[in-house]
């Protein structure tokens, strides 16, 4: 009797360990999306709220950066969120895949006929241009999972 219970407990433990990745993937991923504006003109300045993006923004020709919007969402696998952009277009963000340390997003801007699929690790973020550049200014979306 004791042996049977022990066997059942072992089987349950194995089943739980096997199912753990599935359970982890089923959980939602908290995502922070910021809409930022880059300008080629004006004094070089980065909005203090964008300090964590300096490494990525510094690679671009835009010298002045401001945050114009911020959104938070708990995204389930395969779920999408639509976010309005300053020019009236819509940003569609979909959580395509999620693992323990990596996550894959689909970033779509239907008005721009743009569709990106990007996989990043837990400590990375995506910076994605979402509008065309006009008069030296363009809007970007920055996406960070597990902020």
């Amino acid at each position: 009797m004791i042996a049977r219970r022990w066997f059942a407990a072992s089987t349950l433990a194995v089943a739980l360990l096997t199912a753990a990745p599935t359970l982890a993937e089923a959980a939602t991923v908290p995502v922070r999306v910021r809409i930022i504006k880059g300008s080629r003109q004006g004094p070089a300045a980065v909005d203090p709220r964008l300090a964590d993006l300096r490494g990525q923004l510094g690679r671009l020709a835009y010298v002045k950066w401001d945050q114009v919007g911020e959104h938070h969402a708990d995204m389930g696998l395969g779920k999408s969120v639509s976010l309005p952009l300053p020019d009236g277009a819509t940003l569609e963000l979909t959580l395509v895949d999620a693992h323990k340390n990596t996550v894959t997003f689909q970033v779509r801007v239907p008005a721009r006929l743009t569709n990106s699929r990007l996989t990043i690790s837990k400590d990375q973020r995506i910076v994605h241009q979402v509008t065309d550049e006009k008069t030296g200014e363009a809007y970007f979306a920055t996406i960070r999972p597990w902020p």
């Binding site: 490494g55 743009t114 569709n115 990106s116 699929r117 990007l118 990375q124 994605h128």
Partner: protein, 164 residues
């Protein structure tokens, strides 16, 4: 007499026990003290008798069969141990259970292996992929992706004129 009490413990000392000064003082005293000369003679006789007696006793014993006797005692000890311990030790009931529950025993042995395998699979799935894949498609415009250690930067190019 007081001087004899001082030298009496030195009489019969083994070579090296006395310092040079003590040895020369003892020799000087022995040369002039009959009582201590007598003690030295007794000591030498007694020492000789003792060593001779020990050697005689040792020679009387026959050690040729010593190793055989020790080896002969080993099986006896094993038999005595077997009488005090349970038949087959602690292993016998376990082996008996395994014989009667072969399937359970096999499954029980397999469980830790499966658990380890599941853990390896779980950890393997969590690892970051080599070179995070980036796919960008855009109709009618060029795109550029900058890979940085902090994540990708996707830039949209200008709209291309139709027919280009």
């Amino acid at each position: 007499m007081t001087v004899c009490l001082l030298f009496a413990p030195m009489i019969g000392a083994r070579p090296g026990d006395l310092t040079g000064e003590e040895a020369s003082a003892l020799a000087e005293h022995l040369a002039s003290c009959n009582a201590c000369q007598g003690r030295l003679a007794d000591e030498e006789v007694l020492s000789g008798m003792l060593s001779e007696a020990l050697m005689a006793e040792a020679n009387r014993r026959d050690f040729s069969a010593f190793s055989d006797e020790v080896l002969a005692r080993i099986p006896t000890l094993e038999r005595a141990g077997a009488r005090t311990a349970p038949q087959g030790g602690m292993l016998r009931p376990i082996l008996g259970w395994v014989r009667h529950h072969r399937l359970l025993a096999a499954a029980s042995a397999l469980a830790p292996t499966l658990a380890a395998l599941a853990l390896i699979v779980y950890l393997g799935q969590g690892s970051a992929p080599e070179g995070a894949p980036v796919e960008v498609s855009s109709e009618g415009r060029s795109t550029m992706v900058l890979e940085t250690s902090e994540g990708p930067v996707v830039l949209l190019g200008d709209l291309e004129p139709e027919g280009s």
